[in-house]
Symmetry: C2
Subunit: 145 residues, 2 copies
């Protein structure tokens, strides 16, 4: 198991333990984690703190050159918003835990030259499957799909 | 002047008074402002709180049906990240103060069916022109363009 994907999964588990949606993410530059985050929709009533967004926010402000040498790890395929953030900052590579429970904007990312690695990790899939089964209203609340 | 664009400009001015980047936004539903926000990159060291993101965050959690009947007002053409958030929530209309100092992802928004109204408001343009002239390093810091 990739140590950085493991760190993203640890964030997802942390979110689950807080009563939240189990999606986690880490931003990695030069072999080090700049920021680690998880979805905070439930915990903070946040409309924008998805796992990837939280990782970017926890990383703080960096110059463009740092983002352009970084890799974003996320337990779940990035939604439109997180995809937009990846494009804004020019992050060149995204490692995706799984895209079976939700398929994000992978086509858009690839069309803009972002390299994707989809792991289909069993732990990531199990975390989401169990969560959606137990909390369908919460999962479908905001984007209604 | 549209009262909601005026409210977005008021947010931009508030950000400027705080020493921040003068971009503001309001999310409007059924004739009422659900959330008003402004760019907080400088004030909070935030990588994700652009004006539009802050307006969404200040609005709090809403069901999908609310977003799909809302209009987002923003003083500046939405970047990739804010565009992604608009697409995530299915916001059908965006009123844009100006796109002369920065052209965002308007083509992507339109290709997904989002209706855009670009005002080319002189106040919005002047706020950004003055800011960029005085703070070029800050404006070009994160996305390096």
């Amino acid at each position: 198991m990739d140590v950085f994907l493991e760190a993203a999964i640890e964030q997802a588990r942390l979110g689950l333990a807080e009563g939240g949606i189990p999606i986690g993410s880490v931003l990695v530059h030069d072999g080090k984690i700049l920021g680690a985050g998880h979805n905070r929709r439930v915990q903070q009533g946040s409309a924008i703190l998805h796992g990837e967004m939280d990782a970017l926010e926890q990383a703080g402000r960096h110059p463009a050159s740092v983002y352009r040498e970084s890799t974003l790890y996320t337990t779940l395929s990035p939604c439109s918003m997180c995809t937009g953030a990846i494009l804004l900052y020019g992050i060149p590579k995204v490692v995706i835990g799984e895209n079976q429970t939700f398929m994000g904007e992978e086509e858009l990312l690839q069309s803009r030259g972002v390299k994707l690695q989809v792991v289909q990790d069993k732990t990531c899939i199990a975390l989401m499957e169990e969560f959606i089964q137990r909390n369908p209203d919460l999962w479908f609340e905001d984007i209604g799909e």
